[in-house]
Amino acid sequence: MRDFLQILLVGIGDGAVYAMLGLGLVVIYRSTGLLNFAQGEMAMFSTFIVWTMWSLGLPMWLAILGGMAGGFCVGALVHQVAVRPVGDPHEKPLAVVIVTIGLFLGLNGAAQLIWGTLDRSMPPLFGRGQVTVFGVAVAWQKIGAVIVLGVMVLLFYLLFQHTKLGLAMRAVASNSESASLVGIPVPRLLMLGWGLAAAVGTAAGVFIAPNLGLGTNLMQLTLIFGFAAITLGGFDSLVGAVVGGFVVGALSSVMPRYITIFEKMPLAPAFILILAVLLFRPEGLFGKKQVTRV
């Protein structure tokens, strides 16, 4: 039992990170309606920015803020030059998929060009210590991840529910045509959404890098976990991303431990989850049901 709790808590800590990436994916899905396959690479890129600032001697928190700002610029730029000109994702899915894959390749290659192919090491943000609760050891890093996620969710809540900017962003998400008719600068808000999503991803990268080592394929597995989280939660639900993140984290930590066939592939439960949800409940737990007229 203690063993189980231990693994579960590790999974929940990981889940918080998947949720962070998931939040970014949801913001992009809600605003531009596309699944951003380059989200992981955007996060990897901005995590390298954090690493650069940190290794230049800046304190870690300042480096992270800098990385988020850098990520924001990357996200906004990517939207302006690549995503926006392609058009509606649901009318031209192939073109949009290709563009995000182009971004995937481009950002990955750019990071290799700038930072090389060797893995860098980054210190854990909350140190290497752990606390023991009810006989179960929990790393501060995991607790920190949950706290950071909580703060992010709070900020998102305040932004979307209590500011004019957030209201405008919600208007764009629910109906961009009407929004633009009432004078909301839609393209600028979409750009903002992409920037925000990339900035949030930075946090996910910062939590993962100390474990895996900071390399250019840092986020490739995490991206699928993030997608599993938002598939379960519903592609357009921020709450769903958080709940989904925790469930996916717990599942992919617990199942490989007890089911030998998943031993070397924690990704398998996440994959099965994606498949099952899309097949039987495409709107996920908290998403809006999509209805199309013939």
Binding site: L35, H90, G109, L113, F262, F271, L278
Partner: protein, 364 residues
């Protein structure tokens, strides 16, 4: 991705037009025939790899280009083909090209299996699922290392006569023709298979079945109501597409003689997709052109660059993909068709007047 071009044959045909149509194929034939004698062995080996990529891209094109189902996971099917071939030869002593046929069958089944959920999962979401398959595949290989060899790799061996006794030896494609080196022989065998696959898929596309593929892509409801069995078409297309990708993978296995999970990551899937998109989705020859383009780019051009800036390869490909989608979504073939249409429209408007001036319209 808009429709392919099936233009009505131009109203007046002259022998000149006919020659114009045949000449490029003749030139291509001659080039393909002299390539293995003009280039050093390592280049011929590389070209063999491009052909396996072209075959996989041809399979993906049927599915994504013509049928509109997006797969970012064909690298996994390519891998299934490769590993099936390797395991059949090593463990069961199946003859080399017999294993290729068996791999095609196995991949057809795998394709059907993926195609079933794809009936309900469409567009971007299908892309997501296939992306997850591609990411999962190398891990699967590690998980089942008892049969795949895991990250230690799978050495493909077969019993061969060696110094008077039968022994397990690494497979080799040996030339039975006196004048041909082994790599030249391999080149022609691969070329033959590639050409046959492209011709077969051309015939498929020009047939009633092929038209139903396109109809399903363009409007499922309309296709259904004109009597096309949509589900059946989609599933079988997935199976066929997977089988073709599997043949590509099988040839890759025969070519390499050893397989590692690291060859079948998401990056492979992306490169297959790149070949389709750059060459021109929904054109028959497009994927082959795309594969050659990719090969020339990454095996010839990039190798000229200093080591330090070689990752620029990915940057250039990424930027190229984005630019293509913005400027010429039809890829090389689509761009060529547009130019051709413009040119012939201008020609016919100067030479003749009246309604005959309507040139073939390329919408790809």
């Amino acid at each position: 991705m808009s429709a392919t071009v099936t233009t009505g044959a131009s109203s007046h045909r002259s022998p000149g037009d006919w020659a114009l149509k045949v000449a490029p194929w003749l030139v291509l034939f001659v080039i393909l025939a002299i390539v293995p004698f003009q280039f050093p062995s390592f280049r011929v080996e590389q070209i063999c790899f491009w052909m396996t990529l072209a075959i996989a891209a041809c399979g993906l094109n049927l599915l994504t280009g013509y049928n509109g189902q997006i797969s970012v996971g064909h690298g996994a099917l390519f891998g299934i083909g490769a590993y099936t071939t390797g395991i059949l030869i090593t463990e069961f002593g199946v003859p080399l090209f017999g294993a290729t046929v068996a791999s095609a069958v196995v991949c057809f089944a795998a394709g059907i299996l993926i195609g079933l959920p794809a009936l309900r999962i469409k567009g971007l979401y299908l892309a997501l699922v296939t992306l997850a398959v591609a990411t999962l595949f190398p891990l699967l290989l590690e998980q089942f290392s008892a049969i795949t060899g895991g990250s230690g790799g799978l050495q493909i061996t077969s019993p061969q006569l060696y110094r008077g006794e039968m022994r397990e030896r690494p497979i080799r494609l040996e030339s039975p023709v006196a004048g041909l080196e082994n790599d030249q022989w391999k080149y022609f065998v691969f070329l033959g298979i590639t050409v046959v696959i492209f011709i077969l898929s051309r015939n498929l596309i020009k047939s009633r079945v092929g038209r139903s593929l396109v109809a399903v892509r363009d409007n499922e409801v309309a296709a259904e109501s004109s009597g096309i069995p949509v589900s059946q078409v989609k599933i079988v297309t997935f199976g066929l597409s997977a089988a073709i990708a599997g043949i590509g993978g099988s040839l890759f296995a025969l070519d390499q003689g050893q397989l590692y999970p690291s060859s079948f990551t998401i990056v492979l899937s992306i490169y297959i997709l790149v070949a389709v998109v750059v060459g021109g989705a929904a054109s028959i020859i497009g994927p082959a052109i795309g594969a050659v383009f990719y090969g020339l780019f990454s095996d010839v051009i990039v190798q000229q660059m200093p080591d330090r800036i070689q990752p620029a390869r990915a940057v250039i490909l990424g930027v190229l993909l984005i630019l293509l989608m913005l400027l010429a979504p039809g890829g090389i073939v689509g761009g060529f068709r547009t130019l051709q249409a413009k040119w012939s429209a201008r020609r016919s408007s100067t030479h003749s007047s009246g309604p005959a001036a309507a040139g073939p319209e390329a919408t790809a």
